[in-house]
């Protein structure tokens, strides 16, 4: 937050007192809001025994765990395949040959511009694919295309002299890429890649919409059970922290890697911003933000 201090001076005694007043007032408002929500929760009987009973049963715990396992399976497969597809598409886009470059560009631009859910539904409904492969295919096409842009901008961001020097030594393009540009680019790209994986992890929850039995789907099964008085809110309270926690862990890891990379002299030559989501626009997002 040190940058933000450009907006205000170090407070003097009177300002400090004023700020303390603001702090007390805003804390009171926030606490009142929280209290009101808690009151609503109690008032509508969200903490009754029946509503929380399901989580005590072994069968239901196993159902949730299986859902979590399915979520992670879909994420793992989609992550690996996206990286592979992203690498392939980036190679295509960086090619010197127009017939290779053009199709790769069209594929990348198209899949970045399409809503993931439309692709997943298309594969699921029109091509009649099973839920898991449909989900993984949709995620792979989208995230692979975005990662291709990450890879491409990473390679392009390596200082020009590196490439020129390598060519001057008589290396061929393949060699320049493999030995000079890619190794330098990969380090700098790592945070952006991890942030994109956060997006993939978040999007596995779309599997819920095509009846893939993932975490949220397991939650829905429990939530819509009449025997437990439709425990929607308790289910949300149990599931959200786990989902959000997983994503936050991965985001935190991305930030950590990027901090380490920023200190490393090896990546000084390369800084890349993550390309926007389906960015048909110039410019980019603040680096390190998992994209919407």
């Amino acid at each position: 937050m040190t940058d933000a201090t450009a907006l205000y001076d170090l407070p003097g005694p009177r300002t400090r007192q004023r700020h303390r007043l603001y702090a007390v007032a805003s804390t009171a408002v926030i606490l009142a809001l929280v209290a009101w929500i808690l009151y609503l929760l109690f008032d509508t009987g969200q903490f009754t025994r029946t509503k929380w009973m399901p989580f005590a049963y072994k069968g239901i715990q196993e159902l949730l765990l299986r859902g979590l396992g399915n979520t992670l399976t879909a994420f793992a497969i989609a992550a690996v395949l996206s990286l592979v597809l992203g690498g392939a598409l980036a190679t295509g886009r960086l090619s010197d040959h127009r017939p290779v470059r053009l199709p790769a560009t069209v594929v990348v631009e198209f899949f970045r511009a399409m809503p993931v859910l439309v692709m997943i539904f298309f594969i699921f409904v029109a091509l009649k694919v099973q839920p898991l492969p449909a989900l993984v295919a949709g995620l792979t096409l989208y995230n692979g295309s975005v990662l291709a842009e990450v890879f491409r901008s990473g390679v392009n961001a390596v200082e020009r002299g590196q490439q020129e020097a390598a060519f001057a030594l008589g290396m061929r393009k393949t060699l320049v890429m493999a030995h000079v540009l890619v190794p330098q680019a990969v380090r700098a790209m790592l945070p952006a890649i991890i942030s994109q994986l956060v997006v993939a992890l978040k999007d596995t929850s779309l599997g819920y919409l095509i009846t893939y039995e993932e975490f949220l789907h397991a939650g829905k099964l429990i939530a819509s059970n009449l025997d437990y008085d439709l425990p929607f809110i308790p289910v949300v309270m149990v599931i959200s922290p786990i989902y959000i926690g997983m994503c936050m862990l991965l985001s935190w890891f991305a930030v950590r890697v990027s901090r380490r990379e920023q200190r490393s002299p090896k990546t000084e030559a390369v800084t890349i911003a993550t390309p926007g989501p389906g960015a048909l626009l110039p410019g980019g997002e603040p680096p390190m933000a998992p994209k919407p």
Binding site: L7, I30, L41, P115, V118, S205, G278
Partner: protein
């Protein structure tokens, strides 16, 4: 091929539904994002914490989970609203986190000296932020806000799966009517492309007129 001509009204309804979602959710996101961004740079610690929690939590929440909580969960609270309002709430709050971050990054691009000069003229925090820093930050946030709104367009497809009339949802009706599913989807895809390209073009114009030349 004639799915479109036969069902122009269905497609039209879906298209307009998507547009409506985007406009309302976009406005909500811009307003909330602005509030949260000012919270995050405010001198009061509790507001900063609130803004940070808001952004961190929402940015790491799967949108489907948020829709689940808002559309299916809130009614259990005794809050009964039309599905479309719920969808706008979910999309708007989610997107506001990204708008907030874009604005905050924009504030950081304004040279420090600008804020310092404003303060040395005796301006208050609100004046410094509102008259000096934000107008300049505004110029550099046009591209990221544009791509956030494009992402909002794409995310709005999820609303269809939660019983809101919008473009992707039309596939269900048309599928039941027995139309060729591939063409059905082709027209849906075209609809989304039209919107994203329009948003992109709009922001290109905005950037051309107001963008920061650096």
């Amino acid at each position: 091929m004639n799915v479109l001509t036969d069902n122009l009204s269905t497609y039209g309804e879906g298209f307009l539904g998507t547009l409506e979602l985007i406009v309302y959710a976009g406005l909500l996101a811009l307003a909330l994002g602005f509030v949260m961004a000012s919270f995050r740079v405010a001198p009061v610690a509790s507001l900063r914490v609130f803004g940070t929690v808001w952004v961190t939590v929402l940015r790491n929440t799967p949108l489907t989970l948020l829709f689940f909580a808002v559309v299916l969960g809130l009614p259990r609270f005794g809050l009964l609203l039309p599905f479309q309002v719920f969808a706008v709430l979910a999309l708007g709050c989610y997107t506001s986190a990204f708008i907030c971050e874009a604005l905050r990054a924009g504030i950081n691009t304004v040279p420090r000296g600008q804020g310092e000069a404003a303060r040395s003229l005796g301006m208050t925090f609100a004046q410094t932020l509102g008259l000096i820093v934000l107008p300049q930050a505004f110029r550099s946030v046009i591209p990221p806000v544009g791509s956030t709104l494009i992402a909002l367009t794409k995310n709005s497809a999820i609303a269809g799966a939660f019983s809101v009339t919008e473009l992707l949802g039309t596939y269900k009706t048309l599928n039941e009517l027995g139309y060729n599913i591939v063409w059905t989807f082709a027209w849906i895809a075209l609809g989304y492309l039209i919107i994203t390209l329009a948003v992109s073009a709009l922001f290109r114009v905005l950037e051309h007129t107001w963008g920061a030349a650096r």
